[in-house]
């Protein structure tokens, strides 16, 4: 069986994720992100509106300083790109780095 070899055989996979924990992408979540990203061989870049950084560098990830509600674009390129994107999306949006979402500001809603 031949693997599908298109011009993008080791194609990039992209996803937009939203930061959902109240404290945003501070250092501890950034470290968790890097820990997950480095498990994959794919190159991983993360972008906000201004910057595009290496998803495996804690210093660069800390620089994104994404607040709650910020949308980030994750791009993975390499043999395990899809798995990487799936794992990172789960960390950011489902597990929310093990942190709570914002408290509802209006209790009378």
């Amino acid at each position: 069986m031949w693997p599908k070899l298109s011009s993008e055989s080791k194609g990039a996979v992209e996803a937009e994720v939203e930061i959902r924990n109240a404290d945003g992408l501070h250092m501890r979540p950034a470290m968790q992100f890097v820990d997950v990203a480095t498990k994959f061989t794919s190159d991983i870049t993360v972008s906000n509106k201004e910057n595009s950084v290496d998803g495996k560098s804690i210093m660069q990830m800390s620089m994104l300083a994404a607040t709650c509600g910020t949308k980030l674009k994750i791009r993975a390129q390499g043999p395990d790109a899809q798995q990487a994107i799936d794992a990172l999306r789960e960390l950011v949006e489902v597990k929310m780095f093990g942190e709570p979402p914002p408290r509802a500001k209006n209790s009378n809603k």
Partner: protein
């Protein structure tokens, strides 16, 4: 956010006396007290909180720099102190190397975005080799203050 928005220039220590992490944190918090940013009655509790945070995961992220930090009710705005050590401090860094430059940040409890903005600024510069080198080579508080203001004001520094 810029360095001058949150760095207390009176809390710059060009040569830390401490050889270890907890000693360096203590010196920097005390510098913020002297600089008028914290009450002396609050310092012990803040030092304890920063050390506790540091034990959970080192903020020594490699390349000779560390950014110990905590969110605390004592502050309404983000404030930071800067310390330099020529011989290096054991910060249990990720790369197991000594730390030569420390930026200690205290952020308000109820404003996570402020904390992130200060962090963004700190790491934007710390990831630049030129900045790390200049900071490490500065020998006086004045030189460090000049460097921080230079990178604030001069986008072509890098």
């Amino acid at each position: 956010m810029k360095f001058s928005d949150f760095i207390c220039f009176k809390a710059i220590i060009p040569e830390l006396k401490a050889k270890d992490r907890d000693g360096a944190i203590t010196e920097l918090v005390n510098a913020l007290v002297k600089g008028g940013k914290l009450k002396s009655s609050q310092s012990a509790e803040i030092i304890k909180a920063i050390v506790k945070r540091e034990k959970e995961a080192s903020t020594g992220m490699g390349k000779g720099v560390a950014v110990p930090h905590v969110k605390h009710l004592a502050v309404k705005e983000a404030i930071a102190a800067v310390g330099r050590s020529s011989r290096g401090i054991n910060f249990s860094s990720l790369d197991k190397q000594p730390v030569y430059s420390v930026i200690l940040l205290i952020s308000p409890v109820d404003n996570p975005d402020k904390h992130l903005q200060a962090m963004e600024n700190i790491f934007k510069h710390l990831q630049q080799e030129k900045f790390r080198k200049f900071l490490r080579q500065s020998q006086t508080a004045e030189q460090i203050e000049e460097l921080l203001k230079e990178v604030d004001e001069n986008p072509s520094f890098y």
